[in-house]
Symmetry: C2
C-alpha cells in the first residue's frame, strides 16, 4: 500500500510538473522560436532544474512535439457535424464567432501553429496533414451542396474556409500589430464582439447571406 500511495503521490507530481513545463514551453517557443527558447529558460520559468525537463521529455524536440500535438488536439471540436440541410448563415456565423473566440482565448496556441506552418510545417505529422485535408474537403462538400441548392452565392468553398481561418486568426497571430494600430494594450471582451460582428457581417453578405443575429456573444454556442 505504501508503494501504491507513493507512486500515486509521485504520479501527481509528474502530472503537475509536465503540465507546468508544457505551459511554459508553449509560451517560450512562441516568444523566441524553437531554437531561441532554451531548456534553461523553460526550466527557470517552470521552477525546476534543467535536468528535470530532460527527465520528463527525452529531448527538446519531443517537448516541442508534445506542445504542438496538444494544440492540434484541442481543435477538433469546431464545426463538428454540419449537413446540407443546415442553414448556411447560421453555421458560418457560428464558425466565425467560435474562431474569434478561440483566437482571443488561446492566442499562444494559434501563434505556435502559425509559426510551424510558416516554417513549412517540419514537425507536423503526416496524419495531421491528411486529417486537415479531409476536414476541409468534408466542409467544402457541404458548402457546395448549399450553393447547388441556391442557398448562397457561387463561391469556391475551399477559399471561403481559408478566408474565415485567416481573417479570424489574424487577431491572435498579429495581435501585436493589431493592438499597436488600434492603440490598445490588450483586447477587451467588447473588441471580440465587434470583431466577430464585423467579420460575420462582411463575409456572410459577401457570399449572399444575411447575418442571423442569433448569436449571443460570450456564451456557449457550440
Amino acid at each position: 500500500m505504501t508503494g501504491k500511495k507513493n507512486s500515486y503521490k509521485l504520479g501527481k507530481i509528474r502530472v503537475e510538473n509536465t503540465e507546468k513545463i508544457l505551459e511554459v514551453a508553449e509560451k517560450k517557443f512562441v516568444e523566441n522560436g524553437f531554437h531561441g527558447a532554451s531548456m534553461q529558460m523553460i526550466a527557470n520559468e517552470a521552477g525546476l532544474p534543467k535536468a528535470n525537463i530532460h527527465y520528463y521529455f527525452k529531448s527538446k524536440e519531443k517537448l516541442y512535439d508534445e506542445v504542438l500535438t496538444r494544440i492540434i488536439g484541442s481543435w477538433n471540436s469546431v464545426l463538428k457535424d454540419i449537413t446540407p440541410d443546415d442553414d448556411p448563415a447560421e453555421v458560418l456565423e457560428r464558425f466565425i464567432y467560435k474562431k474569434v473566440e478561440l483566437a482571443y482565448k488561446f492566442p499562444q496556441a494559434s501563434k505556435l501553429f502559425a509559426l510551424e506552418i510558416i516554417h513549412g510545417a517540419p514537425h507536423l505529422k503526416d496524419h495531421v496533414r491528411i486529417d486537415m485535408r479531409r476536414w476541409v474537403r468534408e466542409k467544402a462538400k457541404v458548402i457546395q451542396a448549399w450553393i447547388d441548392q441556391g442557398k448562397m452565392a457561387k463561391v469556391d468553398p475551399v477559399h471561403l474556409i481559408f478566408m474565415i481561418w485567416s481573417s479570424t486568426q489574424h487577431y491572435a497571430d498579429f495581435e501585436s500589430q493589431v493592438l499597436a494600430i488600434m492603440n490598445r494594450a490588450e483586447y477587451e471582451e467588447e473588441d471580440i464582439n465587434t470583431i466577430s460582428e464585423f467579420l460575420a457581417s462582411v463575409i456572410l453578405r459577401g457570399v449572399g447571406l444575411k447575418p442571423t443575429g442569433k448569436i449571443i456573444p460570450n456564451t456557449r454556442n457550440d
Copy 2:
C-alpha cells in the same frame, strides 16, 4: 586612377556579396527562424567564408535588421494616393489584387514579416510602428468618407483593412498548409487570378460594392 579603378572593382564585389548574403539570409531566417539559422549556413549557401559575413555585417542581429528593413521599405508603394473622390470598388479591388500579387511574388518577405510580428515585433523600430499606424489611419479616413457619402456599407474601416491584409497574406504565410490542402506542389498564375477574384468578389459584396471587373490579371495595375 588605379586607386579609383580598384575601389570601384572592390565596391562592385561588395555590392554583389552583400546582395547575395541578404538574399540567402532572408531565406534561411524564414526556414529556420532567427536562432535556427546559423551564420555558417548562410555563409555556405552564399558561397563565402563565415568571416566575410561578419565583415559585411557587424553581427547576426545587424544582418537580420537589414533584411527586415529592406522588406518593410519595399512595401510603401501600395495604395499610395487615394481620395474621397475615388471609386471605392476600384480602389479596394486594386488593393486586393496588388496584395495577392505581392504574396505570390515575395512570399519569403511576407513570411519573415509575419514571424517578426508573431514574436511580438522585437526588432521593429518605433518609427515603423508609427508609420504603419499613420498609414492605416489615413486610409481608414478615406474609407470613412466613402461611407459617409453613402458609397458603401457602414463597416469599420480599420477592420476592413485588417481583413484585406489577413486574407491576402494568408496565401503567402500559410503557403505550405494551403498547398497541402489544395494538393498542389506550388501556386500557378491561374491560382493567383482565382484567389484575387474570389477575395475581391466576397469582400466587395460584403461591404455593399460590386466588383468592377476592370482589372486585367498579371499586368501593372498600380
